[in-house]
Symmetry: C2
Subunit: 451 residues, 2 copies
Amino acid sequence: MRCLIPAAGRGSRLARVAEPKPLAPLLGVPLIERVIRTAARAGVREFCVTVGHAAEPLRRHLEALGPRLGLDIRCVANPDWEAGNGTSVLAARACLGEGPFLILMADHLVDERTVRALLRRAEAGHTHDLLLAVDTDLGNPLVDPDDVTRVRLEDGRITAIGKGLAPCDGYDTGAFLAGPALFEAMERAWREQGEPSLTAAVRLLAAEGRAHALDLRRAVAADAFWIDVDDARALRRAEEALLRRLRNKATDGPVSRWLNRPLSIRLTRHLARLPVTPNQLSLATFALGCLAALVMALPGPLALALGGLLAQASSVLDGCDGELARLRFQESDFGGWLDAVLDRYADGFLLAGLTWHVYAATGAAAHLLVGLLAVTGSFALSYTADKYDGLMRARLGRGAPWRLGRDVRVFIVFLGAVLNAALAALVVVAALMNAEVARRIWVARRAAAAA
Amino acid sequence: MRCLIPAAGRGSRLARVAEPKPLAPLLGVPLIERVIRTAARAGVREFCVTVGHAAEPLRRHLEALGPRLGLDIRCVANPDWEAGNGTSVLAARACLGEGPFLILMADHLVDERTVRALLRRAEAGHTHDLLLAVDTDLGNPLVDPDDVTRVRLEDGRITAIGKGLAPCDGYDTGAFLAGPALFEAMERAWREQGEPSLTAAVRLLAAEGRAHALDLRRAVAADAFWIDVDDARALRRAEEALLRRLRNKATDGPVSRWLNRPLSIRLTRHLARLPVTPNQLSLATFALGCLAALVMALPGPLALALGGLLAQASSVLDGCDGELARLRFQESDFGGWLDAVLDRYADGFLLAGLTWHVYAATGAAAHLLVGLLAVTGSFALSYTADKYDGLMRARLGRGAPWRLGRDVRVFIVFLGAVLNAALAALVVVAALMNAEVARRIWVARRAAAAA
């Protein structure tokens, strides 16, 4: 399945941010690259991108991007681009081939699940008509009501389309499944109405009952995401929306959810613009954790408090590598695993620093034993996490508000350090972590007995 | 697919061990239960067992076993059992239904893969003829040459069958796939020859070119297992063979392979007869590890050496829970996981005991730091093991002679303790474990980059 991305227009409202508009960076990744990478995740391997206004920089970027992502990205010159966006469809006709094809906008961020749903329809034989992904949530806060293209629907078919339409049943999200019928409709729209735009062609097909709608909320997902990035304000809105989506991580415990994650997302917003990789961030977080352990091990309440602060800071920073990877399409098994392994070392060092602080002051061997129990309990908790999360997946659902993990552990260390109650923190960590491991064994045993 | 197990005969040569013979215990599990559980693993859910000699105890055992394993096990009385084992086939006719069925011997241990191969042939439409699993390894040391039933083969068909046959091409393993044709052949054999035995019926079908052979070595596996348990000597041989099969565990490191496993298998042979569960053994092993840690922490070279010996003993005993589970068909995800979690605690405590022994003698904080690195490195090694083994599966193959794991770690502790070189052992563990974690990260990173 090939995918057409019309990217020939001027996009004047974003001209101050980037020229041409498809290269406008959004959290470090150009708009059109986000669209291509999202479609590629859904399984699209061949792209036809029409270029016109400021064609050269766009062409250079895409020619480098294709080999980098292992995708076939062809640039097609559209000399008629000033007449309307539909001319791009006609210019790409040879590149698109005979069968059905996908159309995505260079400036509309799209949900991977929407692309997948369109591909599924194509596989199921939806070949000759036009299928437009329509957002039926009329209260979607990401939509600019003054600019959005509206549609009216009847029995899954589009009956009217246009910007001024009132009342309306949904919004044009810019993601289509189309076939050869679109070329004819576009030629007619240009010849008969002098308006070679996608909207005009859809209108002609709609009049013949040949334009269908894919209901984004019902056929894709209630929280399916899309946004049209037309001006600087929309760019900021899109940034906010992408960052907000980072909050939904199923394994986030309470401290992550309500303290670390909101802070790390703020940091990530700035880090996204810097030339730093997620794995480099993992290493920096680990270094900060080691420093925290060293400082905490020093005598005196001031060093203890400062170490605790550094530990909590590293716990916040620990969210950024994953967030940055997700924002930049850089998630990898290896990256997640490296982060987890480094976290285990940092855990051991932090608790050892705290233990030494207590022991150096008291000289009581029992305090070393408490430290040992805290370290082994913490390790065992991480060691059992995968198994436990697998067992609990059905019950966990979205978020695990009371999940005991690293976020809680480091937060207790931080509180103990700033309140000058190092031994108490150590005892609490040792007791909580080992009790939780015992509880997990008990839960796993019951699950095994029930199976 | 139903499975017939003729179990009506006298089995006089094993009468001193058990009465009736199918209940003869082999490493804690009766012969017929081993056959049924093996077939159940391969996917068989319905069994028809014919009973005759000493029917009542057998019936009682099977009536309890069915519900326990979630299997449909029906006992069919065979009043003619003394005439020959073929009478069991006729007695079970109504129970076996219309389609093809499996025949397994109550006293022939069979390989799960052989049953699977027969089932696959049945699915592929091998319905009317007879298919006998034939062992073409004429040098198989588990075969009693004086007692085995031999076959001659031609183009995959059986041309002759009998005990005295010489020369021959293979041995009758007692595992069949049969169809209604067998009933007719059996009736003829009884009527015409007065010999209602499976061998006689196969001979009749063979004469018509309707008895096929499944080559155990080529169609199942070169190391496919089977043994006919006819007398007390064969029972001991079967025990040896089952125990020997426990050696092939792919993740066993060098110390496991060449020291712990041979010893633990000897222990397991005796443990199999005791009413102890694998999970209870895991807990006992953990308790022994904790005791070893405590003793090692005491001052003086004698306590150190004794603690080291106890640690190595717990490392040997650590193999028994899994071996016992495999021997008794009691393997479970939960059991393996519990054992792994307890091992992590035991690891932490052992290294802590060794660390305290060193530190109490020297008072040098640097020695605590070495202990910390040994503990964190050991934990991190276990934490990275699943991921690493997954990556390495293709390269690991059978056995991992240089795999660094718990067996090596505890052995170093043991050597350090008995040689009164506790600090050296600690340094070696810390260095080796952390270096191996670093190597694993490096290997995983290369694998990720190559993908």
